[in-house]
Symmetry: D2
Subunit: 381 residues, 4 copies
């Protein structure tokens, strides 16, 4: 029986363009989907780059103007994998055209942009999802299960950090191509929107709403050569961003992100301490979940180092055999599989644009708190 | 410019059929190849199973008789991913037909079979390779680099083990479908050919020839219901296999494989101790390599826990960004990429059938030593 | 040649009384000291308890009034190992009597008390030291060496936390005997003075002055039965205390302490991220130091897991042989050895009362910041 | 009430002399003993060395001839901490004099010597014990408890190794003082008696009798300068010793010891795999026990990393508080405490000379197997 097709129109060809394309290609090989995912068109301003990307991934056609891509009748889904400053405009147009929309995170450069995007997709009634991929690392998904099963009990503490070290070199320029994340006009913020946003999304998914924050940020290298102007210019992004928070459930939290933590490439860690149990996860060993259960017999009570590779653990029965780990890219495959499965079932897998907006309310409050040096309440969506 | 096509004919649809198919589909997305890999035909005795497998992975056609597959002019490569007892016959026919051959490990059920297979491919002059995939886990490939760069100096010790626990339950039957690995007629041996073969292949690649062995084996569960006969029958395979060895370079070794090590799913570990440095690797955290360099300053001398995810480490510049790990399946992708790259360059990537035969000489010596309870020399190819 | 005697008068017989007594007894066996340390007298209000303690540790005599102990001519050193609310009064009297003073941490219940104590010992010109023992865990001492050798370069981040879980049970009473740490009148504060004080002392030793803090505290269990009154009473201590900080060197920090982190018994961890190198330490594996040096060759760059047990590492040549670890109690032995060695050399080993006062300035600022919900500058001594 | 005295006469002043003396001094501080342990006399051929040692540890007197020490009426216990070639003669004389005897391991240089020693103490009816200290590392003691409680079920595999790297340097001489372990005449054998003996003692304690062995040994550096003769002489010891074994319970084992494993200082590891559970221990983190229980719920089944520092774990209620680790030396303290407790109770704590003899039967079989290149049965005591 022939399946329905789901035609993808991809905007962007960078790191995330690759990660999404790989996920679109693989999801149907490992998960039973009701739709055939078709890589219909890849879009980039440069025709050469678009064509090279399309050839590499098997996109059937290219566009050099995302407006044209949106106009095409043969496109069902617009995937926004271009820099942050393009998200809003593309999303608004795609929603108006009735397309389903997948958008890279953060949703907008700030909550104001994101509010417009949410309004647009909700008014248009189109399916929408944001690529907060870490929710679908099996170990993190299992953490969510454990929380929902009530195994942790009352939560006292939440801790998350995302540590990198790739911008310590003061000679690294800002802006353009792979370095747009250092250009505040394009990125909106520094590590707050890039890294903390991931931590916040997972945190609220696992532990509920964040009520208030107190933050500090720092830009260690104050000026960098700008690739687009050729001049040394003030750096507008935050290099490091730290905040304390209270959740609605009464738990206390610390969050930290930086690109100045020598020795850490992409160390996203999270920990929850509950009355009955605790858990810990670390992106550098993403196939493991640490778990401590106080109900265990006293002398044998200990942190369990769970190798999340068994069929009874989330997503894993669709991959290999116990003991054989999967990696980073698979979180995107799972998100595609869940999205497509949701289509068939008429459900809307999270995180939606609205959920992602809530993360932006937190990051906005973090940046405001850092500027004003005080506690800030977090707007609730 | 259109690339040449490389047309794959796949025999088998099980665990390894999936792993290879995934690798064929992904290699060109991540590595610049001169050929387009085309999944031309999938072959299984059951037409339904062949079709389901073909649909899942995008094979263009199916066959239900591997002889027909070999006869097809539009097939360039025969990939043997069926149980061990079929390897020889298929390989001989494919060689006679002038096809390139990729064969799952172990090559034959014993060295006698493997010798025939080597003779066949060498007589026919066809490209051939065996899927000892662990050589191409980036951390293991880096171990090879370190050895070749002379960083370890004279080697004193080699240690490898491959521990599983999935057959402890005495109620597990033997034979048929997913349980052919417990049927000695199909598998040839137990953990010796299944697990130790991997350890031996990597060991000789890293540390050179094994000269002599002294082994012990055990079958803990002596009888199991046989799925093919419906009767309780004697178990012919070895459940555990342990041997001591001497390498040609004078180093001493211990090897061990078992399916009765409670708590270990697929714990393949290897360690080398050299005069100047040591290294350690563990399949359960396959993206890491432990390395100790005696040349380091005394008080800071320590095992380094290398997260193999940087662009200057083997294969990794083709994947994501530093800190983001890949998994088990990628070792197969690398093997495909190397094989296809070799085609363009006219080189023959290892391990060839001949190299795999040498592993069988070792496993044969191991089994003989265990039977005769003495030291056995290893035949050298 | 007979050595001079150094006569100890111990006040207290609890956990710290034991830790100090053990250190006094062992220091001379492992370190070449110019003095014979003599356990002269143990003091407790209960004669029975004092006598039992003296018998156990070999104290020659007992006192039941610390004023009598201080009056004795045959006592050189008063060691204050009694609860926090007694520190000031005893220290002032001991200083007036010209005794050397060793005092458990925190110095006073708050900086006001500590200022009086500093004034007293400085006016009297008596040797003084505070038992911030973690400085002398060999791995921590080595961290200090690495920092002083300039190996880390400019520091960007400091992180410390001290996590416990022993007061989660709401039925645990407060006050009296082993539970005085939950009684705010005796302890002065909760985890801030008990646990964070350790983190702060080490932090300033390694990374210099803390300039300003923003804190939050929480008391999860608001009321507990009070052992001294027999009534359920409001809990006055902080159960958890978290703060962000800026150091004078421009680095950013997070600090956290809690007794509600299920699964952690005494998890004191610290981490420093510098431009050139990073280091990490963990009390649960106190014999190890993690170190990352960016100067290492690219593909081998990694965190080194240093087993601090070699003779070229701090204090270790006086213990066993490489590979054999020491434990918690040895940090106290090292402090005694350094103190006595300092006597012979006429130097004053840190931390002195004055240095410990600076820690109290930070904890006072933390508590004030948590109350007032704003940033607080830290008074500098 | 005054306790009885237990007067110790110590022979030897090296590494083990220190370890034992420390244990004698500390045991009574931490464990409630019915005897006061008195360091009565230290014995060494050099009066200067004996006096220095006595001064350091508080021995009341010295002897320069162990025969004189044994003759003294005021000595209850002779502790033999001198090199292996002295064990037998001293033990025989001490037994004849009716002294209790504590002897460093291995008991004799070979089983023939050990048999004489066993006969002597048993004929004399004197208390005797051998310093196989690792049994009393709390994590190892807990492993014993778990085995005895039947938690592991039928045992399939035992693995132990003891890896060091201190003799790789070919310029290291043999013989005399600290290097007697490289002199076969003094030591009896190399790593077999020094390191494997520890592994074997623990193994039989945990897993029962060893029935047969097949071994290989190697001397990597064939000649070394001899400190006693001043000449380069053939090295008689084994540098590395590896063996396979079968236990009486049907389990299979591998054992390995070497002083040529670069990067390992004293890495004694042991692992048991049972039908129901597995456990693992590592001397480099001796305060931890890894435990896997198959009865755990499927998705949460994992290795537990137990921090052995709680009061409900062996020996630990006598030390500090949960989370605070002890070290190597404490295993000796526990052995003293158990020995003295046994005196009061009239029991004989293991391992006795007879139990240690059984270890020598295994090491003798290992050395014979390596020479003859065949399987050797193990003599049972």
């Amino acid at each position: 029986m022939a399946k329905n097709q789901l035609n993808i129109g991809m905007v962007g060809y960078g790191f995330m363009g690759r990660a999404h394309s790989n996920a679109f290609r693989k999801a149907g090989n490992f998960f039973p989907l009701d739709y055939d995912i078709v890589l219909k068109a890849a879009c980039a301003r440069s025709a050469d780059k678009a064509q090279a990307f399309a050839d590499n991934w098997g996109y059937e056609s290219i566009e050099t103007d995302w407006r044209k891509l949106i106009e095409r009748k043969d496109i069902d889904v617009i995937d926004i994998a271009s820099p942050n400053d393009t998200h809003k405009e593309i999303a608004l147009a795609a929603a108006a055209a009735g397309k389903m929309i997948l958008c890279e995170k953060p949703l907008g450069r700030n909550a104001t942009e994101s509010e417009e995007m949410v309004a647009a997709v909700e008014a248009a009634g189109v399916k929408n999802m944001v690529w907060y991929n870490y929710r679908r690392v099996p170990a993190v998904t299992m953490a969510k299960q454990l929380v929902e099963e009530g195994r942790l009990g009352r939560i006292f503490h939440y801790r998350a950090k995302f540590l990198q070290d790739w911008t310590i070199n003061a000679d690294l320029p800002q802006g353009g191509a792979a370095l747009w994340r250092l250009d505040v006009d394009v990125a909106g913020s520094g590590v707050t929107g890039d890294l903390l946003a991931h931590c916040i999304d997972t945190a609220m998914w696992l532990n509920g709403p964040i009520v208030e924050v107190s933050a500090m940020t720092e830009t260690f290298v104050k000026e960098r050569m700008h690739n687009l102007t050729g001049k040394v210019e003030k750096v507008g992004i935050d290099d490091a961003s730290i905040f304390m928070a209270r959740f609605a459930n009464g738990s206390l939290a610390t969050f930290e992100a930086t690109r100045y933590a020598r020795g850490h490439k992409a160390l996203y860690t999270l920990e929850m301490n509950g009355e009955k149990a605790s858990l810990f996860w670390d992106l550098h060993d993403l196939h493991r979940l640490q778990y401590f259960d106080h109900a265990d017999e006293g002398k044998l009570r200990a942190w369990r180092n769970i190798h999340v590779s068994d069929g009874d653990q989330p997503y894993m029965k669709n991959w290999w055999v116990p003991g054989l780990q999967i990696g980073y890219e698979h979180s995107f495959v799972h998100q595609v599989a869940d999205f497509v499965t949701g289509l068939g079932e008429g459900t809307t897998p999270s995180p939606t644009f609205r959920e992602a907006l809530q993360t932006d309310y937190v990051t906005d409050a973090v940046l405001k708190s850092a500027r004003e040096r005080n506690w800030q309440p977090v707007k609730q969506s």
